[in-house]
């Protein structure tokens, strides 16, 4: 019986594309499969951010509690998308809640472990930061468009 590793899956992901084989192996060593049932909490605001996720199927909602409005979803991450960058920056705590509104399958990466490896090997650190900055930039652009409230009637 052969045991399939996560390496080919990680290698095929656009987010990790172009990374050297040795880095893929190293990242694979920090990864594990996780499943979230419908409604299950992925992380909570204020908790230690020791992981990040690559969504393989399903959806994760990033939520924020707004007084008098309740829990509001401000973003969702779907198949192929990266969730979570708080593990990269002090104080390494989640700034939002995240919950799976439907059964979801993801890869969870040990951010704490990867952070240490990035410190040891700055070439790896640069590659990881480059990729995460792309995610951050795209999210920032999307957030700016959301803030414009383009579909409102300008009242």
């Amino acid at each position: 019986m052969t045991i399939e590793t996560l390496e080919p899956i990680i290698q095929a992901t656009p987010f990790f594309q172009g990374l050297e084989e040795r880095y893929i192996q190293l990242i694979t060593g920090c990864a594990k499969n996780v499943r979230f049932a419908e409604g299950q909490v992925v992380f909570r605001e204020g908790d230690a951010a020791d992981q990040f996720y690559l969504i393989r199927s399903g959806l994760v909602s990033v939520q924020f509690m707004i007084p008098h409005r309740g829990l509001t979803t401000i973003l969702t991450a779907s198949e192929g998308e990266i969730l979570g960058w708080s593990w990269l920056f002090p104080p390494y705590r989640w700034h939002f809640d995240a919950r799976a509104p439907q059964p979801t399958h993801a890869l969870a990466f040990d951010g704490k472990c990867l952070r240490g490896k990035c410190e040891e090997d700055h070439d790896l650190g640069y590659e990881i930061f480059k990729r995460f900055m792309q995610v951050v930039t795209e999210r920032l652009e999307s957030t700016r468009l959301q803030l414009l409230d383009l579909y409102g009637n300008n009242k």
Binding site: L59, T72, T76, E79, S142, L145, Q146, L150, Y151
Partner: protein, 288 residues
């Protein structure tokens, strides 16, 4: 299989263009809190005309005024037509109060249309923002009516909240078909919403179409269309196969009055549907 601008050029208006034709309201449907659809038939059955997807009419509320509104119904239902609009000004406020049996005056149809015939053999990705879904709906009907002529058909629809989703039942019905991919996203939602949250452009990188063989129809707020076109380009969709529907202050509908001038073109006559290449230099410019 190139598409050229003459494939979606405005059809000649075959009646006196400045004379409204009386239409009777057959049905009024409240779509969302501030958006409604009027279903109209010509008062004289001999008066109705056909239209092409993407064209608009000038709707006249007698004694109040006239506004341009895109036709949102199935072209094969003509002369029955539907117009979906939002309450934004004096005329649409009055329009919201009309009832079954009331009369409106209609001039049109005017303008260019989505090049549905010109993109046969391609994947077609339709990107709609907010009420921008209304002018795209006739194109979807037409595409689905001759489904075998196209490869993948994908609708990406972004709106403000789940409560603002237009044509909800129709989208659910279409989603049940296996030959049309529909993805909906909202800008924000309560935690009970189980779908996507985020702007419509975020769905483009992973949407299931082959960019090298795709034509794109985009309609929504201008900023949304600019960013959508950029995202489609990033994915590899050719600009000459990207089409946008522009909104300007149309008055006469036939390019005479100049109210809807958009740089060197008139939106009512040369548009509202333009190819991206036609207007790329004008997009986002403050002075036009």
């Amino acid at each position: 299989m190139a598409t050229t601008s003459d494939q979606f050029a405005a059809a000649p208006v075959n009646r006196e263009p400045m004379l409204p034709t009386p239409y009777r309201i057959q049905r009024v449907k409240q779509e969302t809190d501030d958006t409604f659809t009027l279903e109209l038939v010509p008062a004289d059955s001999a008066e109705g005309s056909s239209f092409a997807p993407g064209q608009f009419n000038m709707l006249y509320v007698y004694g109040v005024g006239e506004v341009p509104i895109s036709i949102s119904s199935d072209p094969s239902d003509a002369p029955l037509i539907q117009h979906t609009t939002r309450v934004v000004g004096t005329v649409t406020k009055a329009m919201r109060l009309v009832k079954r049996g009331d009369m409106l005056g209609i001039r049109g149809p005017f303008g260019t249309h989505w090049p549905v015939e010109g993109v046969v053999g391609h994947d077609v990705v339709i990107v709609a923002g907010g009420i921008g879904l209304a002018p795209l709906r006739p194109a979807l009907y037409r595409l689905m009516a001759q489904r075998e002529k196209y490869r993948k058909i994908v609708l990406l629809y972004g709106t403000r909240t789940p409560e603002d989703i237009l044509y909800r039942h129709e989208l659910e019905h279409w989603r049940g078909k296996f030959d049309l991919e529909i993805q909906v996203t909202v800008d924000r939602a309560a935690c009970t919403w189980r779908g996507n949250v985020g702007v419509v452009t975020t769905m483009i990188p992973r949407a299931p179409f082959d960019p090298s063989n795709t034509a794109a129809f985009i309609c929504g707020p201008e900023v949304m269309m600019r960013f959508t076109a950029m995202e489609l380009q990033k994915r590899g969709v050719a600009t000459e196969r990207t089409y946008l529907s522009m909104e300007r202050n149309m008055k006469c509908g036939v390019g005479l009055c100049g109210h809807c001038q958009y740089g060197p073109v008139f939106t009512c006559k040369d548009g509202p549907v333009f190819s991206y290449d036609q207007i790329v230099a004008l997009l986002g410019r403050a002075e036009v």
